[in-house]
Amino acid sequence: MENKGLSKVDLIFEEINAKEVLQKAFAMTSEEIIQQVLESGLKGRGGAGFPTGLKWKYTAAEKESEKYIVCNADEGEPGTFKDREILDKVPYKVYGGMAIAGKAMGARKGFIYLRGEYRFLLPQLFIELHKFHKMIKEIGFDFQIEYRMGSGAYICGEESALFESIEGFRGEPRNKPPYPTTSGLFSKPTSINNVETLVTAMMIIKMGGAEYVKLGTKDSRGSKVFSISGDTPIPGIFELELGMSVQEFVNEFGDGDTKAVQVGGASGFCVPRKRFIETIIGFEGVPTGGSMKLFNSSRSMYNVLHNYLEFFTEESCGQCTPCRVGCQQLLKGIEKVKKGEAKSTYLNELIKLADTMKVASKCGLGQSVGNAFRSIVENFREEVIY
């Protein structure tokens, strides 16, 4: 497996002349923009990792006159806080990325769905948005962005749940198909992209897809902003080239006693010390929307798992059986095993349940609860039992 080692990058937070980049983009055709993004190999930075260029291409191909670009700023994955920092530091690049996406797909309207927990950012974001609207008008591109606020529901980060929320409903994921690129927000073709993805897309237009593709590995092109927390002497936000091993990451950010790293938040994977060297952080190994949590030997992995399961039990939308009831059963199950009220072998039944949740849940939330569950129970079985 390709291993690029750990190197810091400065693309996302780099101050740029947005107007120049946008003028460059608007001088390009829709196809040219999409081609650049496709060439860059950019995959969605929210966690799911769908190729951004393809998403734009599909949306562009739709014949509808009304289309939307939606920026997913409902950053709720435990351990993820990079989008807040991006919106705080370089909101104009988010707006710019949306305008470029709009140009590429033929959308004249954008929505930013900002989680309620980040409402305090709004006054400054509005000031920046006002400037942006003025600039884009000067350039002569007809494009408007509006904010929509979340109100404390993790599941609204799921794209179709987010549309439901904007449309004024409970944030319950929809059946797919249809996919957002054909029928998304208000049933119109929609490209929904993460905050960081949009900024990255703008940087790709600035530097060219061919230049961007030099960063990262075959499966994980480019760089990524990581949200680093837990048992680390230097928690915070770091942009790193993709393709490092967990070991290299721990060497840089660990406290010398790291026993596990949870990659990708509560819905991600727990990597134990014995797998640090062989595990690459990226789509070829453990994918992540940027959440990296380090645990040292003082931590009980039972408590970690219990905390995650409580989180999912509350944050599941509740509509589908595997997720709504499955989360409760996993939580109750490990409690019973811990208390000795169920045999330790019951964990095997729970792993099977987690597998059912992975294949039978309606959306990504239920499908990924099993990631943390399986990887923690399998690697820290004794901590879970005793």
Binding site: N175, E314, S316, T321, Q328, G333, A342, T356, A360
Partner: protein, 593 residues
């Protein structure tokens, strides 16, 4: 056409077909829970998951449209394991007191449990983690959240079919549930008691309030004279709960069964349906005259029918400004009740305080209607107990009656004779047709100008129907109607009713007379009818209604000999003083939530 493979068999189906229906076309059954033919796709119970070759996850067959070359396996190991888990998960949050449950042996979850989850359960019981209380506040039905499996059929029913949304999904995660507005008692919200949710609930979470024991007690009480009336739609649906296919008329056997159960007199709501036509038809003509000739400003047009208690409660909540448009006629059930303890008591020389008046209805809202304080014009509770079609089937089974083997028999008299016009009350458009058959004849002295008296434009399953009848050759006292075009409309299902009322209230449409039934298809699709229900079943019941009508010798309400007699002996004239006292009512404004 799309070609796909299901369990290695080739299927050719129309584009847009779901995998579930494609499988059905091959005779492959995939279990479902949240899916219901009358409702939009939810895809949330996940019981119907199947394996699609090449797909990362299983897919919900109810929500997945077919695509060319798809390869589906409905019974692979992966599918079976997942399905068993899902059924067990549902069981773990379901308070399974099956032997005490009203839906025992008529529960879709129980059926699935039978197929997938016998023996030891894998998962822990979660019901203890979720405190619950059973909402018994409505006289029509109970809501027991501890039996709810969150399939949301009820919520979709209330929204999509009824445009009421008295219940909606609330909270999220493990706390997600089906709630009224801020969990208020169902008796204190906008619920119309139509029971359509009850009809579609796969478990015992929503069940009608049953009065079976009270009725048995009355029957066994030697001091009581127990009369029973049966609504028109019951006779074309009861059979379904007793092993017959939909669409089978069992009128005569039902009458015999009721007699064997021990009712002292087996009577027919159809009698008061005919009476309703006399009262309502006269009211309509009088209203037209007062408005068109006398310029009366207090009366309102169009006039709405008032037989459907779900519809009445709907308009009381949602369009209180239009209560004047309602006919003041009580429903046939309540006319019957008022007469049972007055006219019938006198004629049979029975102390009305000893009469227990029972009705068998296709309807749960009738239970509420009977409880309304307005419905005591006999000086007693006019109708003591309302049973649904389903409850009657239970009583027949309890009595150990071999229903198929029963001889047919006829209703008792008095208050047991009827016409075809009364029978068709049970189907959408039926009241309109019955009213037109009589009103046209009152005005012109001739039969309605339709072949065999079948006013086909008002029949059928279309949500909103319209018709215009030109009135020609009027009698002298009605000559102000000469050449007039009587414009009528019909809606069934409150979502359609709402469309029609909205159009009327905003002036976008104008009619003289509108029939509204709260339930899809009219009473044949009532909330108290046998479960399951779907459009095919309702159509079959409807056909049965119309064939019952066409088979009757008398088909106009004003020709019913007992109706003629009751006006002569007791009521004097339609809309007369006595009628107003006993057969008419008034309405109240209710809250908007």
């Amino acid at each position: 056409m799309i070609t796909l493979k299901i369990n290695d068999q080739l299927a050719k189906v129309k584009e847009g077909t779901t995998v579930l229906n494609a499988a059905k076309s091959l005779g492959i059954n995939i279990p479902t829970l949240c899916n219901h033919q009358d409702l939009c796709v939810a895809g949330n119970c996940r019981v119907c998951v199947v394996e699609q070759k090449g797909a990362r996850t299983l897919i919900a067959s109810c929500a997945m449209p077919v695509s060319e070359g798809m390869e589906i396996h409905t019974n692979s190991l992966k599918v079976r394991n997942a399905r068993k888990h899902i059924v067990e998960l549902l069981l773990s949050e379901h308070r399974a007191d099956c032997t005490k449950c009203y839906k025992n042996q008529n529960c879709e979850l129980q059926t699935l449990a039978n197929e997938f989850s016998f023996g030891e359960h894998i998962f822990f019981d979660l019901t203890e983690d979720h405190p619950y209380s059973i909402d018994r506040s409505s006289p029509s039905f109970s809501k027991d959240d501890s039996k709810c499996i969150r399939c949301q059929r009820c919520v979709r029913t209330c929204a999509e079919l009824q445009h009421v949304s008295a219940i909606a999904v609330s909270n999220k995660g493990s706390e997600m549930k089906v709630s009224s507005f801020h969990n208020r008692p169902m008796s204190h919200v906008v619920c119309t008691n139509c029971g359509q949710c009850v009809n579609r609930c796969p478990t015992g979470a929503l069940t009608e309030k049953t009065y079976i024991d009270q009725v048995w007690d009355a029957i066994y009480d030697p001091d009581k004279h127990v009369v029973v009336q049966t609504a028109p739609a019951v006779r074309v649906a009861l059979g379904e709960d007793l092993g017959y296919d939909p669409g089978q008329r069992v009128t005569g056997k039902m009458v015999t069964a009721l007699r064997q159960i021990g009712f002292d007199s087996v009577l027919d709501t159809d009698f008061t349906a005919d009476l309703t036509i006399m009262e309502e038809g006269t009211e309509l003509l009088t209203r037209l005259k007062k408005i068109l000739v006398d310029g009366d400003k207090k009366l309102a047009l169009p006039m709405f029918t008032s037989c459907s208690p779900g519809w009445i409660k709907f308009i009381e909540h949602k369009y209180p400004q239009m209560l004047n448009n309602l006919s003041t006629c009580k429903s046939p059930q309540q006319m019957f009740g008022a007469l049972a303890k007055t006219f019938y008591a006198q004629k049979r020389n029975i102390d009305p305080s000893k009469i227990v008046s029972v009705s068998v209805m296709p309807c749960t809202a009738k239970k509420f209607e009977a409880d309304r304080p307005e419905m005591r014009s006999s000086g007693y509770k006019d109708v003591d107990f309302v049973l649904t079609t389903r409850e009657l089937a239970v009583m027949i089974r309890q009595a150990g009656i071999d229903f198929r083997a029963l001889e047919e028999s006829k209703y008792d008299s008095i208050m047991g004779s009827s016409t075809g016009a009364a029978v068709i009350f049970g189907a959408t458009g039926g009241v309109m047709e019955a009213a037109l058959r009589t009103a046209y004849e009152i005005v012109t002295g001739r039969s309605v100008p339709f072949k065999n008296l079948d006013i086909t434009p008002v029949r059928g399953m279309e949500g909103v129907k319209e018709a215009t009848i030109k009135i020609e050759g009027t009698k002298k006292e009605w000559n102000f109607l000469e050449g007039a075009e009587l414009k009528v409309a019909i809606a069934h299902g409150l979502v359609n009713a709402n469309k029609l009322v909205k159009a009327v209230s905003t002036g976008k449409a104008s009619y003289h007379f509108i029939e509204i039934m709260a339930c899809p298809g009219g009473c044949i699709g009532g909330g108290g009818q046998p479960i399951p229900t779907n459009i095919d079943i309702r159509k079959k019941r409807m056909e049965a209604i119309y064939s019952e009508d066409s088979g009757m010798s008398l088909r106009k309400s004003h020709e019913n000999p007992e109706v003629i007699a009751i006006y002569k002996e007791f009521l004097e004239e339609p809309n007369g003083h006595k009628s107003h006292e006993l057969l008419h009512t008034h309405y109240v404004q209710r809250e908007s939530y």
